[in-house]
Amino acid sequence: MRIRVKKMFLKVLLVLLLGAGVAYYEVPKLLQQQLKRELIVFICFLLIGVTLALAMILDLPIPNPTNAVEYIFSPVVRMLYPG
């Protein structure tokens, strides 16, 4: 139990470090070029990405597009699928 928590903590740290690293890489460039809109979109995407990664590591439920697709198309599949 403790080792599992420790491993998760390590992974969380890794993800946060990676996120910060990506930010360090891109943000100065964007600020320098005064691209405010790009910065906002970048930060949004990065936040979504890091949040998803953290949710995955911490075993929190993530909205799954595959399930959505299966839900939407199951009536069609039931009608059309042979065998």
Binding site: V22, E38, F42, F45, L46, A55, P65, V69
Partner: protein, 369 residues
């Protein structure tokens, strides 16, 4: 004009589209097809070829109406700013989901066939890093790399099939046409949906050196694809028999394993893995690029590059969490994915084509008045 300033030639476009469709087609579809159509799967291939050609012409005719604009630009023009952007985003999200599946399939192949003890996430992350590098470098770069790698891929395929040919028993293809016709049709639907993925070219047409030549893409691509996948499916059925092929996860790979030339040429599948990794990486790069550039265009950004790295996080997470196990993937691929692909790709194309017909009629009416 769009964000992308690079230009690709007609030949590069043909090879790019061919690789993007073929890279996973040869590996995944034979098993799915033989499961649905049995030994008549080659007929599914032919039907799908015709359907794919029609889809190709539909897509290109849409692209040719707006040769200097990419999909996002004319979506907004035809459907208005909100709806046009929504349609483009659905297009991009579709490719994100598809990429997640591809990264996962790549990991599964490498883990089951070559390095079984490596944890799953390692290959996913490595693949995404590679793809991010390629996308960062830009369209021209990975198109040129593809120009080299894809012909090599085809050459290796031909050699392998030639070497495996002596062991093939064409009697396995009989009895002809005894399988249920709905099964054959569903098989061709699965395959046609791969052709439909080619609609991504709508984002690339303005980046061609001569966009008006885009209609020359359809026939060469269809011929290449048809040739390769037909030989692949017919060869596999002849070699392994329909039922065995349907059971396997990666039948083409198993075929590479059986190839040998005396004691001289063995274990050739390592070469196949190498080339296939290159090929699939380029496919994922192409779709990743299209997705990211759609988002960049939708938000009116000046460059897509800042979005590449954050998008990688999302891709990795999705590839690890999107499916629960291999069986789930197989079920999803054989039933839901073809429907989703056809709906999104062909649906978008038709929607925009019809909208553009309406717009033309409007302007014509205005002019005569």
């Amino acid at each position: 004009m769009g964000i992308e300033k690079g230009k690709i030639s007609l030949w590069q476009a043909i090879l790019l589209v061919s690789n993007s469709i073929l890279a996973s087609m040869v590996l995944i579809t034979p098993a799915l097809l033989t499961k649905e159509a049995g030994q008549d799967a080659w007929l599914s291939v032919l039907i799908a070829g015709v359907v794919g050609c029609i889809i190709g012409f539909l897509v290109i005719s849409l692209g040719l109406r707006f040769p200097k604009q990419n999909l996002v630009e004319y979506s907004i023009e035809l459907l208005g700013p909100w709806f046009g952007r929504a349609v483009s985003i659905i297009f991009a999200l579709f490719f994100l989901h598809l990429n997640a599946y591809l990264v996962r399939a790549f990991s599964v192949l490498l883990i089951t066939e070559t390095m079984p003890e490596t944890p799953f996430s390692v290959f996913n992350i490595l693949m995404v890093i590679l793809v991010v590098y390629g996308v960062y470098l830009g369209l021209e770069v990975f198109s040129r790399v593809n120009e080299i790698i894809f012909p090599l891929f085809i050459l290796a395929g031909i050699i392998i099939f030639a070497l495996a040919a002596p062991e093939m028993d064409f009697e396995q293809l009989k009895p002809y046409l005894t399988h249920s016709f709905p099964g054959i049709l569903w098989g061709s639907l699965i395959l046609a949906s791969f052709y439909a993925e080619g609609a991504f070219v709508l984002m690339l047409i303005p980046s061609m050196r001569n966009p008006k030549e885009a209609k020359k893409i359809v026939v060469p691509v269809t011929i290449i694809l048809l040739f390769v996948i037909f030989i692949d499916v017919a060869g596999l059925i002849s070699l392994f028999g329909a039922q065995e092929t349907a059971r396997m996860l990666f039948p083409t790979f198993e075929l590479a394993k059986t190839v040998h030339l005396g004691a001289f040429l063995e274990r050739i599948e390592s070469l196949v893995v190498g080339l296939w990794v290159g090929s699939v990486s380029l496919k994922i790069m192409a779709y990743y690029y299209v997705s990211v550039i759609i988002f960049a265009e939708v938000f009116n950004l000046k460059d897509y590059r800042p979005l590449v790295l954050p998008y990688a996080f999302i891709l990795v997470v999705l590839s690890l969490t999107g499916w629960t196990d291999t069986n789930h993937v197989r079920l999803y691929l054989s039933r839901y994915h073809p429907l989703l692909t056809i709906t999104v790709m062909v649906g978008t194309t038709l929607l925009l084509l019809i909208a553009s017909l309406f717009k033309q009629r409007d302007t014509k009416g205005g002019e005569t008045q």
